[in-house]
């Protein structure tokens, strides 16, 4: 029937996750960093679904659901924060926002 091994999905997830990490670390634009985080979350979703299918277990789906909820909430609040910061500082570049040190 299905000929795609489960570890294909897992490796795809790993690649996407790694790409997300690279994005978070290298990008200066807070919005793009946010998008990279979404990428990482989706990589995790993919992994969950792969396992769910492999183990024939519905809990993976539930988890993906919860992650989506969290992601939605996070995006809403996060973007609001970015907007607030932008109003105050007129920039969304994270290297301009570095007062929280020492």
């Amino acid at each position: 029937m299905l000929s795609i091994p489960v570890h294909y999905f897992l490796i795809l997830g790993a690649i996407l996750f790694g790409l997300g990490v690279v994005g978070v670390i290298t990008r200066r634009n807070a919005i793009v960093i946010f998008m990279s985080i979404e990428l990482m979350l989706n990589a995790v979703n993919l992994t969950f679904l792969a396992f769910s299918n492999y183990l024939n277990n519905v809990e993976g789906h539930i988890f993906v659901f919860m992650i989506m909820v969290v992601a939605a909430a996070e995006v809403a609040v996060g973007l609001a924060i970015i907007v607030a910061i932008f109003r105050l500082r007129e920039t969304v570049h994270v290297d301009d926002i570095r007062l929280l040190k020492w």
């Binding site: 029937m1 299905l2 000929s3 795609i4 091994p5 489960v6 570890h7 294909y8 999905f9 897992l10 490796i11 997830g13 790993a14 690649i15 996407l16 790694g18 990490v21 690279v22 994005g23 670390i25 290298t26 200066r28 634009n29 919005i31 793009v32 946010f34 998008m35 979404e38 990428l39 989706n42 979703n45 679904l49 769910s52 299918n53 024939n56 277990n57 519905v58 789906h61 539930i62 659901f65 919860m66 989506m68 909820v69 969290v70 939605a72 995006v75 809403a76 609040v77 973007l79 609001a80 924060i81 970015i82 907007v83 607030a84 109003r87 105050l88 500082r89 570049h93 290297d95 007062l99």
Partner: protein
């Protein structure tokens, strides 16, 4: 090669390509569009995993709602293309590649070692797990409490976002916001 395999590789390449685009493209708007591509590709992978319901929700929530939100904010803030800084940022770029490789090796090793040669499971089974009915039953019986909490979380996020977006910045009257702004500038100059 079976149709599933072709579809898998197609979607996988689209997803990875989209991901790379998100990460490397200097223009945030285009990054966002690349992300949309990735989302659609991932939805395809979900379908391959027989998670039809999740796939649909994924399209609706991510590509439909979240991405619109992203684009909206980008447009609202009128963000320019980002220019790279020398020095630290150059180093970070190479360093991130190292991190990527390390992470990929570990996660890939985990997936490969754990599941290589594992018995493939049939995609179509007698008990379907990805159906709306299945998920609905689970959500409203066993997982009803997390489900309700999730709704509260969303509500909270909504209120929080509203509060933050108000003109007052949650810091009191506008004059005070100006004062804070001034103080921040001063502090920055001190650095």
């Amino acid at each position: 090669m079976a149709l599933e395999s072709i579809l898998f590789w197609l979607f996988a390449m689209l997803a990875v390509g989209g991901g790379v685009g998100v990460v490397v493209h200097p223009n945030p708007v285009k990054s966002a569009l690349f992300l949309v591509v990735t989302f659609f590709a991932l939805a395809g992978e979900y379908v391959l995993l027989m998670a039809h319901f999740v796939a649909i929700v994924h399209i609706a929530v991510y590509a439909g709602a979240i991405m619109v939100l992203f684009l909206f904010v980008i447009m609202l803030l009128n963000v320019q293309e980002e220019s790279r800084l020398a020095g630290v940022w150059g180093f970070m770029r190479y360093f991130s590649v190292v991190l990527f490789v390390a992470l990929f090796v570990q996660l890939g090793y985990f997936g490969y070692q754990g599941f290589f040669g594992a018995e493939n499971v049939p995609l179509v089974r007698e008990t379907e797990i990805g159906t709306v009915e299945q998920i609905g039953t689970a959500l409203f019986s066993q997982y009803v409490l997390p489900f309700e909490i999730a709704s509260i979380l969303l509500l909270t996020a909504m209120i929080g976002a509203l509060y933050l977006s108000k003109q007052k910045l949650g810091l009191g009257e506008p004059a005070r916001a100006a004062r804070v702004k001034e103080a921040l500038h001063e502090k920055e100059e001190a650095h």
